[in-house]
Amino acid sequence: MSAKPLTGTVLNIQHFCTHDGPGIRTNVFLKGCTLRCKWCSNPESISPKPELAYNPAKCLGEEQCGYCLRDVCPELAIYVAGAGDRPDDKVLINWDLCTNCGKCVPVCPSNALYLFGQEMTVEEVLAEVEQDSSFYRESGGGMTLSGGECQLQADFAAALLEEAHQRGINTAIETASNVPWEFMAKVLPHVDVVLHDIKLTDPERHRKWTGVDNARIRANLKKAYETFPDKEFVVRTPLIPGVNDDEEHVRATLEFIKPYKNVVEYELLPYHRFGEGKYAFLGKIYGMMDFDSPTPETVQRLRALIDEAFGRTAQSQMNQNK
């Protein structure tokens, strides 16, 4: 009898991505995160377990369908408002009663109810990823593990990255690095490019906005820079209005990475509201929805600081942006 193959909880596999590592890439999103950033744009990635989502736009309603209302939910979490008095008779989810058991998913013919996250083996993930291999050759791309925090599923991530390397696929990870160092020690040997966040530099402010302070993250990053001098590290800051879209943060981050030659780039990712709708699907409330993205002027001003630190002229950066 063979041993049960190693599996990971995969949220999504996104093809033809161009922002998370070199070339055209396939992003594999793993579920589970150790932070709770208030601006999170992937709320469906936070819980380590599969999670129910509901898209009312796809619901056919009680009269036309109604399968999920017929004793399917053991927790009585699915219901309709009123009795024939509503403009539509789409179902509603009582998220406080739902336990994400997923029993309602197979009975929903329109896919309005579905589960975020499924168990997959390394082989299954790579079969999907390798569909794009011709694009990797042309563009110098590969596979990027993202999340959630992809290093949280350290054994699965390491096995997946190692096998990808075996097959000649360039590998990258996108990480916040708030995991035990042993996890990073397992994963990083199989990674070509490490894209990692520095969200805030002040420990107390980091705790307020993400749930934990940044002491372990900073220690992990320093150790990673020193342990893996041959790997490329790219620092990223999601620029959040009123949180870290200021010169102080960018300067402090530049100071932190200054001693390390293997930190090859510092990218700013202006906050966007793409996550908003997904919060509604999960019955959660997005706490940051009333802010606009940082202005182009702010982003340009902060990028100029980075260019200066990396010894680039503004002109060369403009060409790069083109």
Binding site: H15, T34, N55, Y79, G82, D85, P87, D96, R216, G277
Partner: protein, 385 residues
């Protein structure tokens, strides 16, 4: 030694004037020789005692509450966020996790010698309370909602105050519309139930009221406003409930044609499709104002009252209701009741089992007398009468 110790707490979104419920409960309990304590900020007082070094439980007496029943705010605070089944905390591995602390909470309440908790809840907190009552927590609850969307009761605590405030603001909005020669589109609370919009709109004789229960045709609303404009009136007032939706909504853009795996793993997770399902404050007012400006060729102005309706001094109706609900909850405890809600079914206050209220929304019936009266007043509801 008091004969019995009961507690009172508040869960869910804030509504004005909650002190009157505490006063009603204190007066009734004191007459029975019982002790009443308050749990701070929902269940936070018991779940996070370190945050309340002075008092985890607050002793409440008629003397303390004297003169407070008509005041704004709530001496105990509230908690819209804490759910004892998913308490966010940091574990020993420096990870943020959600932990189920419900058993600990129920045990803590029993350890404090609290026999029953009187919980003042909105729809969401009701679900949490129901789960706690299944775990053995003895509870009697009181409905509160500024939208009046709690089922079975005719009047939830807080609605009347929100209604008075909203009508007052609409009156002011009309004056502003009149002086600026514009059509004001005012968005008010009401995601699934449009009582606040309908009743306040009727109170100020608005030109149109758009409700979650009745999908609107914007052309019908525009036609109604054009009549007024043609007759020489150069302003208008439209009230829109937060959850109002157009009858023929714009077709959803098709999902990106990604390879099969993506749709299997995370369908609908792209921003293009998702933006149509967000219940976001201000969105309806903007949309309706823009469409009306286009269809009437008259300047419009969107406005959102939103959470402002959750503050202020309670009206006399709410003060009476609060005192009544508080006293009725204590009398239910005295009768040995648990797992019930006090409801107002005129002319009586009655008790119903929590299951009868759970997963129900009190919406405006299509054949409601309110709808007929509004139409008789020539208020457009966005449909042909």
């Amino acid at each position: 030694m008091p004969a019995k110790r009961i507690a009172i707490n508040f869960g869910g979104e804030f509504v004005p004037g909650l002190n009157s419920i505490i006063t009603g409960a204190c007066l009734a309990a004191s007459k029975l020789g019982w002790e009443v304590v308050g749990i701070r900020d929902g269940y936070d007082g018991l779940l996070f005692p370190e945050r309340y070094p002075d008092k985890v439980l607050v002793k409440l007496t008629p003397e303390i509450m004297q003169g407070l029943s008509g005041t704004t705010g709530c001496v105990l605070g509230g908690s819209a966020a804490t759910d004892p089944f998913h308490v966010r905390s940091t574990n020993s591995g420096n990870e943020v996790v959600e932990v189920d602390r419900s058993d600990e909470l129920v045990a803590g309440i029993q350890q404090e010698g609290i026999e029953t908790v009187i919980s003042v809840v909105g729809p969401r907190a009701l679900s949490i309370l129901w789960k706690l009552s299944r775990k053995g927590l003895k509870t009697v609850c009181v409905p509160k909602s500024v939208e009046n969307d709690m089922a079975v009761t005719m009047l939830s605590f807080g609605f009347n105050t929100a209604l008075s405030f909203t009508a007052d603001m609409l009156e002011r909005a009309r004056q502003a519309a009149q002086s600026s020669h514009r059509i004001f589109v005012v968005e008010v609370l009401g995601e699934h139930a449009g009582w606040l919009a309908l009743q306040s709109g009727m109170a100020v004789c608005a030109d149109a009221v758009l409700l979650p229960e009745i999908p609107y045709d914007i052309k019908t609303v525009a036609a109604r406003l054009r009549e007024e404009l043609r007759a020489g009136r150069n302003f208008g007032l439209v009230v829109v409930a937060q959850g109002a939706k157009p009858a023929a909504s714009a077709p959803l853009p098709a999902l990106a044609q990604d390879p099969k795996m993506k749709s299997a793993l995370s369908p609908g997770a792209t921003e293009e499709a998702s933006r149509f399902v967000i219940e976001r404050s201000g969105r309806v007012a903007d949309r309706v104002a823009l469409e009306l400006q286009r269809l009437t060729d008259h300047p419009t102005y969107p406005m959102v009252l939103g959470a402002l309706a959750r503050g202020g001094t309670p009206t006399v109706v709410d003060r009476q209701l609060g005192l009544g609900y508080g006293a009725a909850a204590v009398s239910a405890v005295a009768k040995g009741q648990s797992g019930v809600m006090v409801v107002y079914q005129p002319p009586d206050l009655k008790l119903v089992a929590l299951q009868e209220v759970l997963n129900k929304v009190r919406v405006i019936p299509a054949e409601s007398e309110f709808v007929r009266i509004a139409q008789a007043m020539d208020i457009s509801l966005g449909v042909a009468p």
